[in-house]
């Protein structure tokens, strides 16, 4: 049997005396969608940062398809196929939407040390970028500068950039944060659509979205993973109820 795509063993992170990630272990098989939930300050974004390589860990191991990537930095993990989006929207504001995605294509498709050909005219970069924009429904905004997009469109652009990396695992940090209800519905539909092709780990506050999408849910409280299981199991978990969810959320 092949190893899980992502396997986290005893992961730790401290900021001074504050333990932000406390002995977190879980694993995620290829093709699954897992969601991390937890109250504010539970350490969800820190954990995503540790997994993506933006933040070094103080202990534990991260295995990606069986390979120990604990010592790999952010670009190295991206090259291996770990793509992430950011909680606070992070795009290239002075480039067009298409160029943002074309950059992602360029990052995964060979050399960036080409000094003369015009990148904007390279079909090898643009064609996959158009496809990714189409997928998230941003085709009409392709030529607009990223800074001119609405908040919701920027979130979609981030997902398009992640898609263009052809990742093996997508780490999405609160993909629905700050979206209106219509936008959220569209974004949830998009993630559900992507589920069949990509393994995803997402951090999310919107419990309706999480329970609608996730195959597995992890509950993080004060840096500890207090539960990991199917949505039904999490709903039924007495510890989760008392620590976080509250009765009405599960009704």
């Amino acid at each position: 049997m092949s190893p899980p795509l992502l396997s986290v063993e005893g992961l730790a992170k401290r900021f001074g005396a504050l333990v932000v990630t406390d002995d977190v272990s879980f694993s995620l098989d290829e093709g699954r969608l897992a969601a991390l939930i937890g109250p504010n300050g539970a350490g969800k974004t820190t954990l995503i940062n540790q997994l993506s390589g933006a933040l070094p860990s103080d202990g534990g191991r991260i295995l990606f398809a069986g390979l120990d990537i604990s010592a790999y930095d952010l670009p190295a993990r991206a090259e291996l196929g770990l793509a992430r989006s950011f909680q606070i929207t992070s795009v290239f504001p002075e480039l067009s939407a298409l160029e943002n995605v074309a950059l992602a294509v360029q990052a995964r498709s060979g050399s960036s040390f080409r000094f003369f050909g015009r990148a904007a005219r390279e079909e090898a970069l643009n064609a996959p970028a158009w496809t990714a924009l189409e997928r998230v429904g941003l085709r009409a905004r392709a030529g607009d500068l990223a800074r001119e997009l609405s908040h919701g469109e920027k979130r979609l652009l981030e997902i398009a950039m992640a898609l263009a990396l052809r990742p093996r695992l997508m780490l999405l940090d609160e993909p629905f944060a700050g979206l209106g209800s219509d936008e959220t519905r569209a974004a949830v539909d998009l993630v559900r659509d992507l589920k069949s092709e990509y393994t995803m780990l997402l951090v999310e506050h919107d419990l309706d979205a999480v329970f609608a999408l996730a195959d597995e849910i992890g509950v993080l409280v004060n840096g500890r993973l207090i539960a990991w299981g199917t949505p039904d199991a999490i709903r039924a978990d007495a510890g989760v109820r008392s620590a976080y969810l509250g009765e009405e959320a599960l009704a």
Partner: protein
């Protein structure tokens, strides 16, 4: 880059090409000499703008490359090499090496620490040449004549020298505008705009930034070979930190990121300096407030004021 976006650059270069003819009508040969000097500094400022505008790498030691280029001419002519192209090649190699070495070290720091280490490397080179008494030390070294081009003394005429400088400037502009649009330029720009995002896509900033330093350094090295020929004299003062500061002023005055803005900045700065020096010895007392006005009201400099739409960064 659309043809329309290039209009300011085309107008600028057309003006520069016509300038000696106008100066000839004015019967003032000195203007052509001054013009060549301005073009040389424009070349250095242009290369610095590539670094600052595309890479957000604010180098406070860029004059070092002028010095490297100028002393390449001295050393080459001592060795009997008097052809400008050969000298420029030596300058390019030397400047590229210096850029790679110092960039490799400086780029481990960022922000103000990067600025400080470029300053430190510039000063190290300055004091090295001050201490080299064989090359005249602090007093500098007087060249016996201008370099030759394809075996002929083509640089002796101020007119042909002016057009040689203009050709070098135009070529450098075309190359840098092209590089800014390439895969490399796009990645360098991405690293500047959002380093964390760029890294999350898999781009490691360091090699792109070192390469940008090498490209900018090599071009400024060529400017140094021209400067030595223009003044027929080379001194460590070519690479003083004040000179590095002036190059930054020209770049910022012109408007960071548009490339042609840096050329305009060099023209404006040196013309102002020259004109004001007729009125007062304290030219910088007058230029200073102008810079403050530019810094406060027009962060995109002259380029931003003249062409607000097309002055956007070259990528």
């Amino acid at each position: 880059m659309t043809a329309r976006g290039q209009t300011p650059a085309i107008v600028l270069f057309a003006g520069l090409a016509l300038f000696p003819l106008a100066a000839r009508f004015g019967a003032d040969a000195y203007l052509v000499t001054l013009g060549a000097r301005i073009l040389i500094f424009a070349l250095a400022a242009l290369s610095l703008d590539f670094l600052v505008g595309q890479g957000a790498l604010v180098s406070f030691g860029h004059a070092a490359y002028l010095g490297i280029g100028a002393y390449s001419v001295v050393l080459a002519s001592i060795a009997g090499i008097d052809d400008l192209l050969a000298q420029a090649l030596i300058a390019i190699v030397a400047a590229a090496l210096f850029a790679a070495l110092t960039g490799y070290v400086s780029l481990r720091a960022s922000g103000v620490y990067y600025i400080m280490s470029t300053l430190a490397f510039g000063q190290m080179l300055y004091f090295l040449f001050v201490s080299l008494s064989a090359l005249g030390g602090d007093d500098g070294y007087t060249l016996s004549s201008r370099s030759r081009l394809i075996g002929k003394p083509l640089l002796e005429s101020d007119f042909s020298f002016y057009y040689l400088c203009l050709a070098a400037l135009a070529l450098a502009y075309l190359v840098l505008a092209r590089v800014a649009k390439s895969r490399f330029g796009r990645a360098l720009n991405a690293v500047r705009q959002n380093p964390l995002r760029a890294r999350a896509l898999g781009f490691r900033p360091f090699p792109f930034q070192v390469a940008a330093c090498v490209i900018a350094g090599a071009i400024a090295g060529v400017a140094g070979t021209l400067l030595a020929n223009q003044s027929e004299f080379v001194a460590p003062a070519f690479m003083s930190w004040q000179r590095s500061g002036e190059l930054l002023v020209m770049t910022i005055l012109g408007g960071v990121g548009s490339l042609w803005g840096a050329i305009l900045g060099a023209i404006t700065y040196l013309t102002l300096e020259e004109t004001l020096s007729l009125l007062t010895d304290q030219t910088h007392l007058l230029i200073g407030p102008l810079l403050v006005v530019v810094a406060i009201f027009g962060s995109r400099g002259l380029a931003g004021a003249l062409a607000p739409k097309s002055s956007g960064r070259a990528a």
